[in-house]
Amino acid sequence: MSGARRRIGPRGEVLLGRFGHGYVAPAVLLVAGLLYAPFLWTAYLSFTRYDGLEPAQWIGGHNFGKLIEDPALLTSIRNTLLWVVGTMVLPVGLGLLVAVLSYDIKGGVWFRVPFLLPYALSGAGLAMVWSPILSHGGIANTLLGVDTAFLQDAPVNTVAMLLVWTWQQLGVNMLLFVVGLQSIPREPIEAARLDGAGGWQLFRLVIWPLMRPLTAVVVGLALVASLKTFDIVWVLTQGGPGRNSETLAVTMYKETFVASDYGYGSAVAVMLTVVTGLASYLYLKRQVAS
């Protein structure tokens, strides 16, 4: 650093102090232009009636009033919560289980490979693969010998889609947990073993607390991903039948781009942002505090 200062010299330092912020200006402009400006524009649109063509017409809080009264919103919120809870139990919980079971055993790497492969698929591609399996009269019905329309009745359809989501996401969660397990120093584990700890006791009292920082990251990422669930639902059910499998992100998309009600769609987007922001804040605050 001192070498660099010598090369810049006193005049250079003055210039760097005066114009140094200019170096970050492109990045700042990019972020402001691509993230903050659209966000503010969306927030503005949420107070307007706008069909994407005619000039937006200011209607105050009407869209938010409509949002509160909309019975479909309650279904969306219920389904979104189901996605959040389900994600914590299934892809995250099972990811941890598989990571622990496959850790430190012979051939563990090969055991983990099949869980990782589905992660290579995009959400939409994943849904395309599962559509003929879950549809009425599809492969699942034939294999299980049942006559169930897995994608029709609520909340069965959301649970079915959660299982598809688990099939894809379990691997990456497992991988992160394995990284966490590998980063734990051997000494405390060996010391605990010498003290007679083993199995569940060893995991609960030694391994789990040491993995806490990584768990915070995995749960945080899964929380945000589940709150914005869109592609799987859109391809498999389009939020239906009726609106019984809609999530908040699907509601936002449908109102904005299908119904061309950009104002109302923006209000849903603002609400989704607030919910995601609040959930992330509360979760991170709790993690930092503990």
Binding site: R49, D51, S131, G138, Q238, P241, G242
Partner: protein, 415 residues
């Protein structure tokens, strides 16, 4: 030194911006872009591009979207940017009116007048393209809706194409007795098909009034139609709406004996190596109400449009004019095995040829497809509603009330 560099850079940026600006002279184009929401038809658009290059020296490059909502959002956004398509497909009804009102669509009145005079377009088609007494866009395609049926299944049980609604129900009953599902329906996207068919075949005037907000979805006539629809579902004529088998496969493998779709569905049959008149056939669905003077036939036409502020308006107009000719329409219809907007084009498929001729001769009451006839916010609520109804037929009153709520909100701001 630093200041002079900043000034130099600033000037250079301004010069570059000016060079890339849109204040340019109209360009002379030899190839046009055609944006569409029919991604699966790219092959056919490519063939049309090759033919137009040969015939009028104007090539065409298609860009196909497969998601209609994304496509519409893109086109609307393109109106405000310099990334504009030369030509684009759209929808008739409120959707066309919406963009015409914004002065985004080029007037095609001259093309229409000349084409009608030359016998290349039917006068009956003009109202779907007329807004404020002027025409906009030209028909990219037309389609008539009716019933495709599996001829082998019909033959097996000694059935014939029905002429009356009672005949149709007798056919459905016979199939039911033999353990065959009569009709296809779905809870996704095309959930409106049976609603529009039953409405148009029962009270087409009420159907038209619904589309323009002059009648309510809770009116007794609409409620009766839903009850009729429910009785057909309760009778067990339909396959499960959650079955995601492609309707082409449904008909081919006999999962259902009949599938109601537009004539464009013929392409699905030919792509599955099914032979018209042997493996499958087509009939016009009879009215539910036999007292109606004409059989109602659902009709759709997709417009091919040009923007008002196009890069080369003359080239666009030339292309649209060519699209209406029998040369272009003949190629378009024959490559896809569909009907044509040009009455001069002869349709190879016998059943579709007859329908086209009869429809052009005024034998049917043409009813605009629900998808085009209904404003988007009402349509969205209706598609959701019908999708709920087909899975829970008992919910019809609640469904109608929900659609009416969306209609009330829309028409209160648009009447």
């Amino acid at each position: 030194m630093f200041r002079s560099r900043v000034v130099t850079l600033g000037v250079a940026a301004l010069v570059l911006t000016a060079c890339g600006g849109n204040g340019a002279q109209p360009q002379k184009k030899t190839e046009l872009t055609l944006y569409n929401d029919k991604g699966a038809w790219t092959k056919y658009f490519d063939e049309m591009g090759a033919l137009s290059k040969q015939s009028i020296g104007l090539g065409m490059k298609p860009t196909g979207y497969t998601d209609s909502a994304q496509y519409q959002a893109f086109i609307k956004a393109s109106f405000r940017t310099n990334v504009k398509p030369d030509l684009f497909t759209w929808q008739t009804g409120g959707m066309l009116e919406e963009i015409v009102k914004q002065k985004q669509v080029a007037d095609t009145t001259d093309i229409w007048q000349q084409a009608i005079q030359a016998g290349d377009l039917s006068k009956d088609l003009a109202p779907y393209y007329t807004i404020g007494g002027r025409q906009y866009c030209v028909p990219m395609n037309v389609a008539y809706w009716g019933m495709f049926y599996n001829k082998k299944i019909f033959g097996k049980y000694g059935l014939e194409a029905p002429k009356t609604w009672d005949d149709l129900i007798k056919v459905a009953d016979t199939l039911k007795k033999n353990g065959v599902k009569a009709f296809y329906h779905t809870s996704v996207l095309f959930s409106f098909v049976w609603f529009e068919q039953l409405m148009a075949g029962t009270d087409p005037d009420l159907y038209d009034r619904l589309a323009t907000g002059k009648a309510k979805y809770t009116d007794p006539g609409v409620v009766q139609v839903m009850e009729k629809w429910k009785s057909l579902i309760d009778a067990g004529y339909f396959i499960n709406p959650g079955d995601k088998t492609d309707p082409g496969d449904v008909l081919k493998n006999g999962k259902a004996a009949m599938v109601s779709f537009g004539t464009w569905f013929n392409t699905s049959m030919t792509q599955r190596n099914m032979k018209s008149g042997e493996d499958y056939d087509f009939f016009v669905i009879p009215n539910v109400n036999p007292a109606l003077p004409k059989t109602s036939m659902i009709f759709e036409s997709g417009p091919l449009c040009s923007l008002t502020k196009a890069a080369d308006p003359a080239a666009n107009q030339k292309y649209l004019k060519w699209w209406t000719t029998s040369e272009a329409q003949g190629k378009w219809a024959s490559s896809r095995g569909d009907v044509s907007a040009n009455p001069k084009v002869s349709i190879a498929d016998k059943a579709l040829g007859t329908v086209t001729k009869d429809a052009g001769g005024g034998q049917y009451r043409l009813v605009n497809r629900y998808f085009e006839a209904t404003p988007p916010p009402v349509l969205t609520a209706a598609l959701d509603g019908f999708s709920k109804f087909v899975t829970e037929p008992g919910s019809y009153k609640e469904v109608l009330e929900t659609i009416q709520k969306a209609a009330d909100e829309y028409w209160s701001a648009h009447q």
